[in-house]
């Protein structure tokens, strides 16, 4: 049998015919990047290919890299392999990577959500033979409410805090959630103040031509009284730090899909948990996979074992694969932390993470 067009290797997803990797986690010559989150866009590759809207954020996060950008639908050809990008709806500039060679089509979803958040280009299903999908929230207990409902809650909560004279801190990661929140706040209530990490990302996006609502960067000179009348947009890494405590008394809201479960919500000890995710919920995943019409679906990260089993039971041909994706919406330790490199938080990462060690899940799958 011929070699599959895309393979799962210890460096990332690899196309041997085109000699490039998709979202590799070890340094390679040619990397195609789905989006700019740290668990997908690593430092150290020689050439990068990404969507145009990821450009400035990638420069900001990775420094001077050799980057070529394309628009959605535009095709790049490498050794006969056609590469094109389609919107993934995950964050601004996130793309699904479509790879075609001799009539066989593979699509790598990266991370995606099926609901339109009003700021990321909405997800577009792409017909393919092989679909490589995430399943961060691949359990039926996850089901998202319409965005308008969530933001009604957020804005009401903010309003109440202003009335009660307490500061409002809303937490979401700096690329994606932060801008989604920013664009959906009711700015008649007050001004939006940003943590430096988020403002840096906002500035990168603005350089990229993205139009965002006005924000004000918090500095040591910011007046506590003024800030209290507005809303503070902060990244997860700032929770519980002196930086955040100095705005007290405050009410602190956490925006994440994990807030759907009471236990997870209590664990994060947020005053308010808003169930808001940039990943597809259970129904979103199933419908997205169905819409590709694929012969085979590969699940890279999330609840891979049970989701794979379920898909097989309802008639898909699904397989679990091991990758290192799944960072930006995981637990506090693993949550993005741009001031302190994520890796330093995790002891012996090289050893812990080496590819193929999590054989438990794969083995179980083989046995079925």
């Amino acid at each position: 049998m011929a070699k599959p067009l895309l393979e799962f290797t210890d460096k990332g997803i690899y196309c041997a015919q085109g000699k490039f990797y998709i979202d590799p986690w070890k340094p390679v010559d040619d990397a195609v990047i789905t989006h700019a989150h740290a668990d997908h866009a690593y430092w150290g590759h020689i050439n990068y290919l990404a969507h145009h809207l990821s450009k400035e954020v990638l420069f900001y996060r990775l420094g001077e890299i050799n980057l070529r950008t394309v628009e959605y639908g535009e095709t790049v050809t490498k050794n006969g392999v056609h590469i094109s990008m389609y919107p993934a709806g995950h964050v601004i500039g996130s793309a699904q990577i479509r790879v075609e060679y001799k009539g066989v089509v593979w699509v790598v979803s990266g991370d995606y959500k099926t609901d339109d958040d009003g700021i990321s280009t909405p997800f577009e299903p792409v017909k393919c033979h092989h679909f490589i999908s995430e399943c961060t929230f691949g359990m039926p207990v996850y089901s998202w409410k319409p965005q308008a409902e969530i933001f009604t809650d957020v804005n009401n909560w903010w309003h109440t805090n202003v009335d009660n004279g307490v500061a409002t801190v809303i937490v979401g990661y700096s690329l994606g959630k932060a801008q989604r929140i920013l664009q959906n706040l009711d700015l008649s209530i007050g001004k939006v103040y940003t943590h430096g990490v988020i403002e840096n990302t906002n500035e990168a996006l603005r350089r990229n031509g993205v139009i965002l609502n006005p924000t004000e960067r918090i500095t040591p000179e910011s007046s506590k009284e003024e800030v209290r009348k507005g809303i503070i947009l902060a990244p997860p890494s700032s929770v519980g730090t002196p930086w955040m405590r100095k705005f007290g008394p405050y009410s602190f809201g956490y925006c994440s899909g994990w807030m759907a479960l009471r236990g997870a919500k209590r664990r994060r000890a947020a005053d308010r948990g808003f169930i808001m995710s940039d990943h597809a919920d259970w129904n979103g995943l199933v419908s997205a996979i169905d819409a590709t019409g694929c012969e085979c679906v590969y699940l890279t990260h999330g609840y891979t074992a049970s989701f794979t089993r379920y898909l097989n039971e309802i008639g898909f041909n699904a397989r679990e694969v091991h990758t290192l994706y799944g960072g930006e919406e995981e637990d506090a330790v693993v949550t993005e932390n741009e001031e302190k490199q994520e890796t330093s938080e995790l002891p012996k990462q090289e050893k812990v993470l080496s590819f193929g060690e999590d054989l438990g899940e794969a083995k179980k799958e083989d046995a079925q």
Binding site: P140, V141, R262, G263, A305, D331, A332, G360
Partner: protein, 538 residues
């Protein structure tokens, strides 16, 4: 039910004590009196009788959610709470209901003599009338596991603010066996005396630990600095049994455990001595297994507690007696206001008069002249089958709940071993979907033998790191349990060790918990089964 569901949601939405109290007060002021009493019952562990067994509820929930049974089970492991899992998986419906909490509980209680089919129909219709949050608390009512993130103290505080009755009095009035069907809000807030309900126990007075963890060891000097003159204190052994309050009133006897379970029938050996007490007597003490006049280790008593039927063999293998240390009511008078020394005199008098001195023991006072002397006496605790030493201020009244000041426990340091984590399982509640429950092993030759499970002792940050490790170092999965690569070493502390035929290792530990993560130790340097066995002899 809407108000009750909202109460739950609001309590979940704040971590601040003052706000929780405010939320509780709002609830109390906005619902009918019968709802208040139902809420109070539920929040103090008095749940309605389970009318549908949970396997049936589960099966009907699986049917209603239209997913395979295995996926329901997997979801349950992710959520960590059955009621919540069901509320998330059953599709939302547009129905609604304005029934009160009282009405819902009455409906639940009416199910008692219904057929299975009728129960099912009722349940499916009920689910359709409730929104997600209501459905969650409704499922909690049905399945009975009612743990709320709010302490009884906060509920009492809210109620005290509203009624103007002081908290200790309210705490006392909600003790004992009452159900909201037979105890009204008016009765609760009216003047009362102890005789109104002859079975009602007093709230227990609980000691505060002198050293909260073994790392924070306190010397005799520290204790002296904190507690002052040794003369002002009485010391006793801290007995390792079941704390109990024993009541003789109106010719009847009642034995209450600390968890407010009525345990009178569990300890028939104590009945003769209690029946012989004068009416209007309440004693506080410890129930222990005794042999030849000496207390036996807790595990002997533990095997007996687990039994449903107390047959002759059980009674012969593990006969119980009491070591009493306080008297709360004498001649029908609540004497908790008297000093420790005065109550002690009364207790000694009662004990001298008993015809059952082998069952009615009294906790002897430890003679000591200085804190240094007491510190060295404390070293003998294990030999005394005691957990350490209790210190009680001679001038102290008998108070309500756990408070600093007059009663202190000075426990012995735990035993400890270094062990390797080999299995991990996801936790529940706050720890749902995180690997927090670990099994530990020690070396037996070149094999690792599991010997203990422990759930607590790590910080949240450490738990996150262990969880990260587990997810990336799984060797095998058995249902919810993962076998992990043996690598992480932890120091495990425990209070006691006993032989066990039920465990692979041949030993069972009492209160095992994680003392700390030994980042400095490679797995090869963990302890051996031999070294654990050596502790058995002590």
């Amino acid at each position: 039910m809407k108000a009750f569901a909202q109460l739950f949601l609001s309590l979940d939405e704040t971590n601040k004590t003052n706000e929780k109290v405010k939320v509780l007060k709002d609830y109390f002021t906005n619902v009918p009196d019968t709802d208040k009493m139902h809420m109070l019952a539920l929040f103090t562990g008095r749940r309605p009788k389970r009318q549908i067994n949970s396997t049936l509820i589960r099966n009907w929930a699986i049917e209603a959610s239209n997913i395979p049974a295995w996926l329901f089970e997997e979801s349950y492991h992710v959520v960590g709470d059955l009621a919540e899992t069901m509320s998330l998986l059953i599709p939302e419906s547009p129905g609604s209901s304005s029934k009160t909490l009282t009405e819902w509980i009455a409906e639940i209680n009416n199910l008692a003599d219904k057929s299975e089919e009728e129960k099912k129909l009722w349940l499916i219709e009920s689910w359709a009338m409730l929104d997600r949050q209501e459905r969650f608390v409704f499922n909690k009512l049905l399945t009975g596991s009612f743990r709320v993130g709010v302490s009884q103290n906060l509920v009492i505080k809210a109620l005290a603010d509203i009624t103007g009755i002081d908290a200790p009095a309210l705490t006392h009035r909600i003790m004992g066996s009452w159900m909201p069907e037979d105890y009204t809000y008016d009765q609760l807030v009216q003047e009362q005396n102890a005789a109104d309900n002859i079975s009602r126990p007093y709230p227990f007075f609980l000691a505060y630990p002198i050293q909260e963890t073994s790392e924070k060891r306190k010397s005799a000097e520290d204790v002296g600095n904190a507690l002052g003159d040794a003369d002002e204190w009485q010391a006793e052994w801290k007995w390792d049994g079941i704390r109990a309050q024993m009541i003789k009133r109106g010719g009847e006897i009642f034995i209450w455990s600390r968890g407010e379970d009525l345990a009178t029938e569990k300890f028939p050996e104590l009945h003769p001595f209690l029946n012989a007490l004068p009416d209007g007597t309440v004693l506080d003490g410890e129930i222990l297994s005794f042999q030849n006049g000496l207390p036996m280790p807790f595990n002997v008593l533990q095997t007996r507690i687990g039994r449903k039927n107390l047959n002759k063999k059980v009674l012969a293998d593990s006969p119980v007696a009491t070591i009493v240390y306080d008297c709360l009511e004498y001649a029908g008078e609540d004497i908790r206001y008297k000093t420790q020394s005065e109550r002690r005199v009364i207790l000694e008098k009662l004990q001298q008069e008993t015809a059952y001195p082998e069952v009615f023991n009294i906790s002897s006072l430890i003679k000591f002249n200085s804190w240094e002397e007491l510190e060295s006496i404390r070293e003998q605790s294990r030999a005394m089958i005691a957990e350490g030493i209790m210190l009680k201020r001679k001038s102290a009244t008998y108070q309500v709940g756990r408070r600093r000041g007059d009663w202190w426990k000075w426990k012995i340091d735990p035993l400890s071993v270094d062990a390797v984590m080999i299995y991990a399982q996801k936790g529940h509640g706050r720890r749902a979907d995180l690997y927090t429950d670990y099994t530990f092993a020690v070396w037996d030759g070149d094999k690792l033998v599991p010997f203990a499970k422990a759930y607590s002792g790590l910080t949240d940050a450490e738990i996150n790191k262990v969880d990260y490790f587990v997810k990336r170092n799984t060797l095998e999965k058995f249902g919810p349990v993962r076998t992990v690569k043996p690598e992480l070493v932890f120091e495990i502390g425990f209070e006691g060790i006993n032989k066990s035929t039920r465990h692979k290792s041949g030993i069972a530990l009492r209160f095992p918990r994680i003392l700390r993560w030994r980042h400095d130790k490679p797995k090869e340097e963990a302890d051996t089964l031999e070294s654990l066995m050596a502790l058995l002899g002590e």
